[in-house]
C-alpha cells in the first residue's frame, strides 16, 4: 500500500519535472514545477515531516513560484519564442547530465538496497513541536542570522531593481 502510494507520487513528481525542463512555453513549465513541489510536499507529509511539508507549500509553491509567474507575466514572455540550441550542444548537455547521474549513483554502491527504519526510530521527529524545540534551543543563532539574511536579500533586491541609484 505504501509502495503504491510512493510510486504514484514520485511518478507524478518525475513527470512534471521532466515537462518543466522540456516545455517550450515558460508559463507551462512554471506550472508543472508547481505540481512537482506539491508532490514533494506530499512526500514530506508521508514521512511525517509535517512542518516541512507545510512550509514547502507555503513558501515554495505559494511565494516563490508566484514570484516567478509574476516576473514572467511582467516581462511578457508567455509567448515562449526563445531560440533553440543547436543539436550538438543539446547532445553534449544530455551526455553531461547523464555522466553526472552515473557518477552520483556510483557513490551509492555500498548500499544494500533495502534499508528501512527500525522500531526504535523516533517517529515524532518531524512534528512542529519537536522541531521548534530543536530550532530554538540549539540552532537559535543560525535562526537569528537567517533573519538578517532575509533582510539583506530584501535590501539587495530593492537596490538592484531601482531605476536610478
Amino acid at each position: 500500500m505504501e509502495q503504491i502510494l510512493f510510486y504514484f507520487v514520485s511518478g507524478i513528481a518525475l513527470a512534471s519535472a521532466g515537462y518543466f525542463v522540456l516545455a517550450k512555453n515558460p508559463v507551462y513549465s512554471i506550472l508543472s514545477l508547481i505540481v512537482t513541489f506539491f508532490c514533494i510536499a506530499a512526500l514530506y507529509i508521508l514521512m511525517n515531516a509535517q512542518f516541512l511539508g507545510i512550509v514547502q507549500i507555503i513558501v515554495y509553491a505559494g511565494a516563490i513560484m508566484v514570484l516567478f509567474l509574476y516576473i514572467l507575466m511582467m516581462l511578457n514572455l508567455n509567448k515562449g519564442d526563445e531560440s533553440r540550441k543547436n543539436n550538438i550542444n543539446k547532445f553534449i548537455g544530455m551526455f553531461a547530465a547523464g555522466i553526472l547521474f552515473i557518477g552520483i549513483l556510483g557513490a551509492y554502491k555500498g548500499l544494500s538496497g533495502n534499508y528501512v527504519a527500525g522500531n526504535d526510530v523516533d517517529y515524532g521527529v518531524g512534528l512542529t513541536k519537536n522541531l521548534g524545540k530543536l530550532l530554538f534551543n540549539e540552532y537559535v543563532l543560525p535562526f537569528e542570522i537567517a533573519s538578517v539574511l532575509i533582510l539583506s536579500g530584501i535590501v539587495g533586491a530593492v537596490l538592484i531593481g531601482k531605476k536610478d541609484l
Binding site: 513528481a13 519535472a17 511525517n48 515554495y60 526563445e82 547530465a97 549513483l105
Partner: protein, 108 residues
C-alpha cells in the same frame, strides 16, 4: 501514530534514486534551456531534490538536524530567488530579452 508504516516499508534507497534523478533533471535544465527564468527555476529544482534527501535521511534516522537544515536551505533559496529575479528584470530592462546567449561581453 506510534508506528509509521511508511518509513518502515519503503527502503531509503528509493529516495536516494528519486533525489538523484531530480537533481540531474535540474542540471539538464540548466544546460539545455536558454531562458534565464527557467534556468533559475531549475536551480530551485536542484535545491528541492537535496531538501528531499535531507529530510528523508533525517526521518529514517530519527534525527532532527537534517530537517532544521532543510528549513535554512529554504530560507536561503527564498532570498536567492528574490535577488535573482531582480537581476533578471534588470537584464530585461537593459536588453529587452532574457536570453542568456546574448550576454557574452566577457569574451577573450
Amino acid at each position: 501514530m506510534d508506528t509509521n508504516s511508511f518509513i518502515q516499508n519503503i527502503p531509503l534507497e528509493y529516495f536516494i534514486i528519486l533525489s538523484s534523478v531530480l537533481f540531474c533533471l535540474g542540471v539538464l535544465g540548466v544546460l539545455l534551456r536558454k531562458n534565464a527564468i527557467i534556468i533559475l527555476g531549475c536551480v530551485e529544482l536542484m535545491l528541492n531534490s537535496v531538501n528531499l534527501l535531507l529530510a528523508a535521511f533525517s526521518a529514517y534516522k530519527g534525527n532532527g538536524d537534517g530537517q532544521i537544515l532543510v528549513f535554512f536551505i529554504m530560507v536561503v533559496a527564498a532570498a536567492e530567488v528574490a535577488v535573482g529575479l531582480a537581476i533578471i528584470s534588470m537584464m530585461y530592462r537593459n536588453t529587452k530579452s532574457v536570453d542568456v546567449s546574448i550576454f557574452n561581453k566577457l569574451r577573450g
